[in-house]
């Protein structure tokens, strides 16, 4: 536990990839397999289930620190992180450093889960007294289910390649299907190449698009590129092998249970096929929006009602393997031709083909991008016709070109202190627009400002606070900001009648007065425009 905690602290402290990979390699070089498997799972995003309710932990901590609960709450508000608050309030501990990571996760924490409050108090205090500050911080994050220190899979793969001598590609592919926190799984992951019994049902590493960071003209002849809509769905590979078809997310999850109809349709594909595409909630020829898809994602074994209410399609755009042969080195054009053939033969409307957009010149592409939002797409994808299917995010092969977001001017009306690296500063903002003579909240935004702007807004909030509700301040409605968001939909839960997706601050508008901010009516007009956009008339597809 102590070594893992030190690894976590090092990852938290070091920002450079080289240092992080070195810290990971140091840890994994001689961690016992049963600990290493847990460490890797945790760093790749697995979270232990909460073992003690946080309200209880707060009570235990306040009592152990000898301070009233209100003062504990004030400390927490200031620090912005419960585990860190507790760690700072209690003295350095020792005595339990010998308990290994897997023993905490497999035995001690699960045992804690079932105990009554008093028994839990005893165990929790024992752990706090027994662990040094670094380990205590990690332990508390396990107990609250809030452990979130992660590393990009690529860094972990590099570190493991260094430790094991295996190729990165092989490790990435073995990891792509997920990892179990057991010594056996760990040994399988690191077993030498050749002694291969790599699970054949696993997905291949996804090729990721690079944001377009250069003028279109720098891409050369438009004829060298294939253009598709950038769908606002969930990326998914279909792996059809043996007696099953698995639907894999990029996070390494199998999505069959949430999308049984797609999984069933995928059985129509011949064995040895791996396809790449995107899951979308889709009806009457147009995407239904991400929030609908999320309802499907969140529900395993959906009933007939949900299936009818939110139908899904899988929109295919690439072919990675056919008849068991890896085609990733073949040019996109060849893979695309194979994909079209396979989907045509399968003949199932739930396995759709992502249309190619005919683009005569770069100018036309700009026009298409402006249409993307109204058509329910996030923007455009540009893929080089002669390029292989690469692993990870590589420049020059796939570019994503997001459409401009929706924008409105809104007034800052409430602010709340941030967490994590924003702890202490007022960084969580509520923005409002006018409805008659009244300001109605319509979005909460946290991001978009640089450090200097964040501090300027923090000062503004402190000087213009009208009322204090715990960590929240109501501020004088004077500061106007330009807010961008990706999507807008109707919502009965919001007073403004609309909900927006990914709101963020584009810039401060000190030049504008509050009275000049936008109105609810303007938001409704955006909504109406989006809902009535002609999607049924298909984009000009070449296939």
């Amino acid at each position: 536990m102590k070594r893992f905690a030190r690894l976590v602290a090092a990852l938290d402290r070091c920002r450079r990839t080289r240092e992080q990979v070195a810290a990971l390699a140091d840890y994994f070089r001689d961690a016992p397999p049963e600990d290493a498997a847990w460490a890797a799972c945790l760093l790749l995003g697995r979270r232990p289930r909460p073992a003690v309710p946080t309200a209880r932990l707060r009570r235990f901590a306040a009592a152990a620190a000898g301070i009233p609960e209100w003062l504990f709450a004030a400390c927490y508000e200031r620090v912005g992180d419960l585990a860190e608050t507790i760690t700072l309030l209690l003295p350095e501990g020792r005595g339990l450093e010998g308990v290994p990571l897997h023993a905490w996760l497999e035995e001690r924490l699960p045992a804690l889960r079932g105990l009554e409050e008093e028994a839990q108090r005893g165990c929790v205090l024992e752990a706090w007294r027994g662990l040094d500050r670094t380990a205590r911080l990690v332990w508390i994050k396990f107990v609250t289910g809030g452990f979130r220190v992660g590393v990009a899979q690529g860094k972990l793969v590099r570190a493991l390649a260094r430790v094991s001598g295996l190729e990165e590609a092989r490790l990435a592919s073995r990891l792509a299907g997920g990892l179990h926190p057991t010594a056996a799984a760990w040994r399988r992951l690191l077993q030498p190449a050749g002694a291969e019994d790599d699970d054949p049902g696993r997905p291949l590493p996804f090729c990721l698009a690079h944001p377009l960071d250069r003028p279109l003209e720098a891409l050369g002849d438009p004829d060298r590129w294939r253009v598709e809509w950038k769908w606002d769905g969930v990326r998914a590979q279909i792996v059809r092998r043996g007696a099953e078809a698995l639907l894999w997310s990029r996070g390494g999850e199998v999505l069959n249970a949430s999308f049984p109809e797609i999984a069933a349709a995928a059985m129509r594909l011949p064995g040895g096929t791996v396809l790449d595409g995107e899951l979308l909630a889709f009806r009457a020829g147009r995407p239904l929006g991400f929030e609908r898809l999320q309802r499907r994602l969140g529900r395993r074994d959906p009933g007939p009602r949900l299936l009818a209410e939110i139908p899904a399609v899988w929109m295919g755009y690439d072919l990675l393997a056919r008849d068991g042969t890896d085609l990733r080195d073949h040019p996109l054009d060849a893979r695309r031709a194979g994909l079209e053939e396979l989907l045509k033969t399968a003949g199932d409307p739930r396995l759709a083909l992502s249309p190619l957009l005919a683009v005569a010149g770069w100018g036309e592409l700009r026009r298409l991008r402006d249409e993307a939002r109204r058509r329910g797409a996030e923007g455009l994808l540009l893929k080089r016709r002669d390029a292989p299917y690469a692993m990870g995010r590589r420049r020059g092969i796939w570019y994503k070109w997001k459409a401009d977001p929706f924008r409105v001017d809104a007034v800052l009306t409430y602010a709340r202190r941030g967490h994590g690296r924003r702890a202490g500063l007022f960084t969580d903002y509520t923005f409002s627009v006018w409805d008659g003579g009244e300001l109605v909240p319509f979005a909460r935004a946290y991001s978009g400002l640089d450090a200097a702007e964040i501090r300027a807004v923090d000062r503004f909030v402190r000087r213009n606070a009208r009322e204090r509700f715990g960590p929240v301040r109501a501020v004088r409605p004077e500061l106007v900001c330009e807010i961008a968001f990706e999507d807008i939909r109707r919502s009965a839960r919001h007073k403004s009648g609309v909900a927006v997706r990914f709101p963020r601050i584009v810039r401060l508008r000190p030049d504008k007065k509050a009275a000049e901010a936008d109105t609810v009516a303007a938001l409704r007009a955006l909504l109406k425009e989006k809902e009535t956009a002609p999607w049924n008339e298909p984009p000009s597809a070449t296939s």
Partner: protein
Amino acid sequence: MVTHAHADHARPGCGSYLANPETARLLRLRLGAAIAVQELPYGEILDLGGVRLSLHPSGHIRGAAQVRLEHRGEVWVVTGDVKTAPDPTCLPYEPVRGHGLVLESTFGLPVFRWPEPAAVVAELLDWWRGNAAEGRTSLLFAYALGKAQRILAALPAGAGPIFLHPALEAPTAAYRAEGVRLAPARRLAAAGARGDLAAALVLAPPSAAAAPGPGRSPAARAFASGWMQLRGLRRRRALDRGFVLSDHADWPGLLAVVRQSGAERVLLVHGSAPELARFLKEQGLRAEAAPQEAAGEEDEAPP
């Protein structure tokens, strides 16, 4: 009446100033030699229309003073910024008794407990040595007046080359002129070829954003401040390290100041004033957060 020369306590534009002599010298540096300053050494009493006023070391930075005010037998003490931890560059905090106390509470929450300064300096030296071994410059942010000199005073003379950002030159020279022993340091402008900075420690004010000098590997960045107790603040500034070294009292230090003053009434300014006030009230004192103008920026606001 100016307690000490930090910008949030010493504003320009007054007709005349009253301050301790060391603060007076720093004030002239900051506000111009032409300002009118009446100097009042520590411990001497000035009669101001029946109010007896005297200054006493607050341990915050060089020249920092608490103000003791006595009128018809009632004594009030205004701490200004106060530090109870040891600091070789200034006189230690002197407990002053009074009926009432006006106390700063920048770090007035129990999560703020400072480690031993000597242990922090040892950590800092380790960090510097590690960077030097890799040929990386160590860039350490520290407040220009007080903190930077406190660090220079704590570093052993032969530790390695030290450079100062221009903003640190004048206050450092002022400390040296008063005979405070500081590790030798050169002006950043005097750094020549890039080899000069490779193993060096560069001290810069928190507002200096860019890493100094040329060179392929960027400098390792750290910040010396009480705020570095909070991980979130370290990460927000994208720092490699945070060194918990403050010129303000921590929670136990603040409680000690209240206790030693013997005060029954306490007014709190800065930072967590409402919280410390409530805590002291629950301990049976008459305490409240003093109404105040817009908070200062120099050393009380989180970075």
